[in-house]
Assembly symmetry: C2
């Protein structure tokens, strides 16, 4: 590391994201950082009823039912999707609050230069 007291450049100023905050938000991004899961959330969120059952989601991908179920579990565990069982079928819906939390990350007040 560099010697203290020898400032090579302007010190990092202002209030950046704390380590705890980063540890809290990163899992949300990690859950979305997969093409399949991104499409899953998009499919569910863009459906007319705001929800989708697993059977339809399975048909939208060339993947095993076990894999889709795994991805849905990851999204649900991260708090991005709600899960509701109705009869034989299971319906997933997007949690708007979770998405809003991520959207807040990219507000001008958080990251953009000004």
């Amino acid at each position: 590391m560099s010697d203290p007291g020898l400032a090579c450049c302007t010190p990092l100023s202002g209030t950046a994201m704390s380590a705890e905050q980063a540890e809290q938000v990163a899992p949300l991004l990690k859950a979305l950082a997969d093409p399949v899961r991104l499409r899953l959330v998009s499919l569910i969120g863009s459906s007319a009823s705001g929800e989708a059952c697993v059977c339809d989601l399975n048909d939208a991908f060339e993947l095993t039912q076990a894999t889709i179920s795994h991805h849905l579990k990851v999204l649900h565990s991260a708090g991005l999707l709600d899960r509701e069982k109705r009869g034989v079928w299971v319906y997933y819906s997007v949690r708007p609050a979770a998405l809003a939390a991520i959207a807040g990350l990219f507000d001008t007040t958080a990251l953009a230069p000004a």
Copy 2:
């Protein structure tokens, strides 16, 4: 998969994210889906000058210089950071367009129900 023609629920409607679009955006989210990289972008973006040199970033973490350099390379390769060498020091700055692309993902028109 389920039999076609047997609709158990409302079909997925509207224009969701395409597979190509998902494959294109996921790497951006994956680059940010790490607490260290999230803090790096935040530190750089929140600095007064809008940029930061590696020596200062090293001091902000309890990690090896090699590890920080690796994370910066990931962010730069993803197109999230710009890199400029000035003398002995290297300065990284945030690419606003990349962040805006991600922010667009979470607009109400893209994912939110309404």
